[in-house]
Subunit: 588 residues, 2 copies
DNA sequence: GAATGAGGTCACAAGGTCAC
DNA sequence: GTGACCTTGTGACCTCATTC
């Protein structure tokens, strides 16, 4: 979950290409870390194939670079810079072609401009352990020298830092500096060791090559795919010893397991799409999506969702799944969840929350697990803060509870709002290949333990970290502050944090599908009978996910890791949520 | 800034030996020179002092120095050095086996890397009468050539001089140069006289022998030991697996990022080894370990551990950590842990467990978090099942509670047993590079949330899934059934399951180190102030872990994934454990 | 002739400066 | 306060004198 603010391939050079008169400036705006889409999104034309052959830096080419490297520099100094570039673009005298640096500070590599890891401006060198521009270098220096405590960020502590806006929020800029690794301890004096240069050269070339492949061919050739499939994610193949690389590249044909992976991916993706109507509504009109995030539109979506999903799921549960099987647990009596309560509702308060575990479970599977949890079920369904009743849960239509309604009525209404989503998760689970091969006991337990987590992932988009709002299922948005004033507490904050990070990954539908499947089978296993089966299924899904990620983001394997690291976070959220329920029971 | 708290041989040749599949690298990272307490307990007659904390590396670690020299971050040049190391490991042609020197400047002695006496960096030779690196050589040269009067030290005229910070205070650096004996009068031109070499060889060997025998004879097989002493190192190479040799010889150096990773690996591994005495005791004698898992031996180990670890940690926490810093949280008042209680004790019952969160935290950091959890702390310290009192926790000496003892006494005793382990975790955390750069608040919160999980990993070996026994810290084994009859419940089962899977991975020390570090910084973040910093640190550690896994198991990349998937499991265990505490509170 | 270190060189980065 | 430019080191390599 660590948000890497650099497109790894990339490490230093996250990027897009600019092809200019045959000379390529290799530039990144690493700052937009969270938007992998912006990485490698631009492709140069075919002129730029020979990644392995260092781009010759002829005098005239270099000047064009500087004039086009995307830097809207201050103008006055633009010309001199380009002049100096020319001077410095020459074969390194140290014998390692590649890295050159003008004394004006523009660091180039093989004719490619290295960019500031903090703001994406042109880097002037390796400062405090990071390729950085003069601005960020100076800023960081002042920050640490004078130990400045910057004013609090006025937004969400996650301002994007780009050349254009780097001066808007000092706190976030400094944070970014630290997060990309700037440190007094990381300074490197003296000249760059030959080997280092050599290494950079190789890295760069490999990065370019990879990029070329993925850019021009749309997707990776099978060979490349095979390369990744059984390897743990690597940030950069070139960093591996030669022999190893060769092993990786060996043209082993895609094994049958690969086919299985593709199949798994396809099935899970379809399952997801078929069982997540909210999402479908949302992405139904991409153009519209691009246009705005207007409350109205969302409102329409969510309303539609609430109407449609119920329908959708019941449709699914027809011929495909015999009625008997709908009762996931049958007469199974859930084991005590005392030690590990698994309430599935999404709601966050500061200690009080409704307990609707049973209610929804009942609707969900037509079964009533023996939940030690809810002796008073349906009597304590809402949060009371300062005398007012609130239901601070985005899965409800609104946090406001009609005081004229009876407890039962409130419950019914709320139940109506989240039931479709829960049902969808169940349907989704059932369509995960292999899930239904597990014992019913385990299916139920995974769902009990994991539904909240799946919903959290599915509905992460309801949390808008930038605006600090939560969109309820009615489509209405509420500000975090309002929700806090209604009694929401730490759980809400944590959910926001989680959502923000997850949303930043901008997962595709396919990825989201696989990920939620993994989330589900990774659910807490304390009540699982046959752990090995669950693990085997998990492994299959994990492999599929990895394959998918490697295919979609060959240069950002770390996304896979990031996703896995979401799992403990989800677990914590789940537990916090459960504890809310428990706390409620203790102090109703 | 990353504080390197490594206890090393000392001042001048702060070092430890690394046994690397036959090649011994003699390396140091002169850490805070101000930690004499734990340093150089042994000194050879030769003037080569040996470290009190020798850290043998895992046999398969391929890049020797990088993983152990404690050089910090930038490390860009470390890798090349390591490569050349291998190149230069060849029989001296001068007729005296032993000293060799690569033209890159790395001076080796019998395959051991000599370190700069000033800053601990890798020495390039014998400069001005002292083994020194290129940096200190140049610095000293300029100093005396130009007779520079450096600016007064801004601190106490006793800045520690390490590779990382050697440029921060010129005055102190120069002073250090002089104090270690650099002098224009001491220059030695030309080749080293045979006699001199011979003498050095003997000294070195004797130093090594002493060290091997007294410090960590158990870590190296005897035959390997003999090999090192009498044979030229390159012959050792032949004993290495083919692939490993090739890695070593590989001309392409690991990238700087890898270098940094190697450094992280080295530091974390050392931290782990230095702060996990139970482990050390266990592996002190591999031969014995191989023989049996007899209760008696374990018993000895655990008893030793309980005696030694306390000592160890207090040693660590001496001069290296100013008293003020010992108080991890200072006057910090922990936020309410109501929603996410973080008891750290390891114990499992079916709903009843002692609550010693406060007790241990207090001992741990000399601070008392405001734990809403324990109004009756120290009054409810044990499990009562069927009238009998039990303390079903392997971190205690025994599950049986002496009914004649007062609650306070029982608590004290139990506390004594687990406190060392907890302290060790704290010490370990502090030595994770970057951990101490987090805010104290976050350090404390991570420790609060993660200590249990770290302990769970560290002590997974106490759970023997095959035999279905748990070894308590006293060394005594108890069968699962017995423990269940004493009140242990689901938590115990889950712990068993977890341990079994973890143990199956057979992690090396290095891997274990990195993994526990990852576990710690992956702890629940619901109370974290600066999530981004924690995430950045996590990312660093994750990368290091991945690098390590890839290196050690090039064909089993899935191990990395498996490890990440342990995180949610740990989270669940942690939560179950916490819920035990909560449940206890609810039904004392 | 082969080691081996002093001293030189210069690619580079920290930190200072000052117009903006 | 920012950041382009400048000054002052720093240290990886190189050359060459010195010694065996």
């Amino acid at each position: 979950m660590a948000v890497v603010h650099v497109c790894l391939l990339c490490h230093y050079m996250p990027p897009f290409f600019l092809a200019l008169g045959g000379v390529i400036a290799y530039i990144s705006s690493s700052s937009s870390a969270s938007s992998p889409a912006s990485c490698h999104s631009e492709s140069s034309d075919s002129g730029f194939q020979s990644s392995s052959s260092p781009v010759p830096s002829s005098p005239n080419s270099s000047s064009s670079e500087s004039s086009c490297n995307g830097r809207s520099s201050e103008g006055s100094d633009g010309a001199p810079k380009s002049d100096r570039l020319e001077e410095t673009v020459k074969p390194s005298q140290s014998g390692v072609a590649g890295l050159t640096k003008g004394h004006n500070g523009v660091t180039k590599f093989n004719g490619m401009v290295l960019l500031c890891k903090v703001c994406g401006d042109v880097a002037s060198g390796f400062h405090y352990g990071v390729h950085a521009c003069e601005g960020c270098k100076g800023f960081f220096r002042r920050s640490i020298q004078q130990n400045i405590q910057y004013k609090k960020c006025l937004k969400n502590n996650n301002c994007s830092i780009m050349r254009m806006n780097r001066n808007r929020c000092q706190q976030c800029r400094f944070k970014k500096c630290l997060s990309v690794g700037m440190s007094r301890d990381a300074v490197r004096f003296g000249r760059i060791p030959k080997r280092e240069k050599q290494r950079m050269l190789i890295e760069m070339q490999s990065a370019m090559k990879t990029m070329m492949n993925s850019q021009f061919s749309g997707h990776l050739p099978n060979e490349a795919l095979a390369e990744h499939q059984d390897q743990a994610p690597q940030e950069d193949l070139s960093s591996k010893p030669k022999q190893e690389r060769e092993t990786l590249k060996s043209p082993s044909p895609p094994p049958s397991s690969d086919m299985a992976k593709e199949e798994v991916i396809g099935m899970v993706t379809r399952a997801h799409k078929d069982t997540f109507m909210y999402n479908q509504e949302q992405s139904q009109n991409p153009a519209e999506m691009m246009q705005s995030q207007s409350g109205e539109r969302v409102s329409k979506n969510t309303e539609q969702y609430m109407l449609s999903s119920e329908h959708c799921v019941s449709g699914l549960s027809g011929p495909q799944y015999p009625e008997s099987e709908q009762h996931l647990g049958g007469q199974y009596k859930g084991r005590s969840t005392m030690h590990y309560p698994s309430g599935h509702a999404i709601c966050f308060t500061n200690g009080h929350c409704m307990n609707f575990t049973n209610g929804y479970t009942q609707r969900l599977c037509d079964r009533i697990p023996e939940d030690v949890f809810s002796p008073n079920r349906n009597t304590t369904y809402s949060c009371s803060t300062g005398g007012r009743m609130h239901l601070v849960c985005p899965m409800s239509k609104t946090p406001h509870v009609d005081p004229n309604k009876s407890g039962h009525e409130v419950w019914e209404e709320f139940s109506l709002s989240f039931t479709p989503a829960v049902k969808e998760v169940v349907e989704f689970a059932k369509r995960i290949p292999g899930f239904r091969d597990l014992s019913q006991h385990d299916q139920v337990n995974l769902l009990k333990a994991g539904t909240f987590e799946v919903l959290m992932v599915r509905f992460a988009s309801l949390f808008d970290a930038r605006e600090r709002t939560v969109t309820f299922l009615s489509g209405k948005k509420y500000s975090v502050d309002d929700l806090h004033s209604m009694g929401a507490g730490d759980l809400l904050n944590s959910m926001f944090e989680f959502s923000e990070k997850l949303n930043a990954l901008q997962l595709s539908d396919e990825e989201m599908s696989l990920f939620t499947a993994v989330v589900l089978v990774s659910a807490d296993r304390s009540g699982i009978e046959n752990v090995n089966s669950v693990e085997a299924l998990q492994e299959t899904l994990i492999r599929a996910l990895r394959t998918l990620i490697m295919k979609n983001h060959p240069n950002e394997a770390s996304i896979f890791t990031k996703l896995l690291l979401k799992l403990p976070d989800l677990r914590s959220l789940n537990n916090m949520h459960s504890e809310e329920l428990l706390a409620f029971k203790v102090h109703p």
